[in-house]
Point group: C2
Chain length 317, copies 2
Amino acid sequence: MISLTRPEIEALIDLSAAATAIEDAYRAASSGRIRLPPVGHITFPDHDADCHIKYGHMQGDSTFVIKVATGFPHNGKHDLPSGNGIVLVMSAETGAVKAMLHDEMVLTDVRTGLGGAIASRALARTDSKDALIVGTGPQARRQIEAHATLLPGLSFRVWGRDTDKVAQLVRDMSHVCDVTPVSDLKTATRNADVIVTATGSSAPLLMSDWVDAGTHITAVGADAPGKQELDVALVARADLLAVDLASQCLDHGEVCHAAQLGLIRPDDVTEIGTLLQTPERGRNDERQITIADLTGLAAQDIAMANAVLTAWRGQNL
Amino acid sequence: MISLTRPEIEALIDLSAAATAIEDAYRAASSGRIRLPPVGHITFPDHDADCHIKYGHMQGDSTFVIKVATGFPHNGKHDLPSGNGIVLVMSAETGAVKAMLHDEMVLTDVRTGLGGAIASRALARTDSKDALIVGTGPQARRQIEAHATLLPGLSFRVWGRDTDKVAQLVRDMSHVCDVTPVSDLKTATRNADVIVTATGSSAPLLMSDWVDAGTHITAVGADAPGKQELDVALVARADLLAVDLASQCLDHGEVCHAAQLGLIRPDDVTEIGTLLQTPERGRNDERQITIADLTGLAAQDIAMANAVLTAWRGQNL
């Protein structure tokens, strides 16, 4: 059994290779080439905490993957990260445990960042230059890192409620790319080609009438019931609504709020995997507003685990 | 993180301590002191194989447990065990992974054996001397080992379809206790105080009119749809039907067949945890026929993991 720690896993991650694997996983998920049973879930009400178990098997793969991810939001009080977890890679031919990736959430963080950048690359105008990042947490950083890798022409501005956290993010990310702080979200929204929302917000942050024609928005914050980053009018107004998994996003993603109000219909959303397979269903006008709503898929976790193990084998076999 | 291999885990298992922990887990499961979400499941049809993910949290425990168990029945062709797996012990206070028990199924095998012996001890006549084991596989051996530990007055006879396998089991188990082979199941049934069925049978092996008054039967083979070891008339005739989890046993355990035929009602079954808490609901006549139907509980897996880690801490801290 291969057993890797977080630092070992981090050293094996190649963002471009992982992005290719995740794009394939999106296509597989949308074309039925991957089996994804219902996500397991257990809560710890005393800590407002929970644990998700995501697992699945990509047709033809010799392995399947089980990801255990915990979210304990009050861990910060004890200077511990709120997210944690482990990824098991199991043989789909014998049932043996092939690898244990004790990633402590880094694979989830990276794949969520890459999922956002893949969606932006698929839907934003090809002449996009200005990216606005809404949020200052770990996932905002991952989105900048992934967007800088997959859309190298972008420059980044960052907005957050807490200006100290914005300044800290700008300092932390200066080695990756140019990031400048902005203080007024409404003005910044007007001037953005690509907007990425990566907050834990439970109320809309981005209003419809702030958004210009031609803008692409990738929303990754709403991944559980009760979370929302976008004005429902903006979701209703979008020319194209992309989702990572329709059933999941309509249940508890960003688009669920507009769907519950009857402002959009279930068949108004298109899966990213479908758009990657049939690009002609994507943006076809530079004035369209496009939105990608991402809730996270076990297919991405499978892709990340495979990418890490491929890199490990390249170095060790 | 504590990481233990199968040999390390085997060396830490104390059957009596584990039995005490499992009895407590049964009581917890039957009194609502443990949360057991629905079992996760994924199949691998090309190999007639599957993987179960059982998990849960015992009220007040600082940890919760996730067990991944695979069953690949054709592994024997490649001289590999059909069962495999891993147990993760996670902090219920921070979400961190506390221990990884790469037990390769040994914890499941042992807890299933102990579950059987706990049920027999709770329900068999206290003067029971003669135990008949039906089956010659790994679980038949675990049942002998557990019964010899928890009911030290028993002697064992073994029946199986394949006399070579019976002879091999008798040789293998001679270091644990006296085990003698029997060739006629009907005659052997007549003379048994305790019968344990531990086969993968999909059709009844034990007929009702072979069974004398006063016999206790523990049936552990039927743990999935399509499996059956006991004549439905025997289940219907029993004076007491015990189960490890009513919802599970009525769905796919031994008692489900009689229930589907309307020979028993759902409230004819009593959970082992309830019997352990209220022994007066157990056997109260030496002529009663009692049956225990066991399908396996995440509560047992939690108990086993805790018992192993307690032993590890005793040796290492």
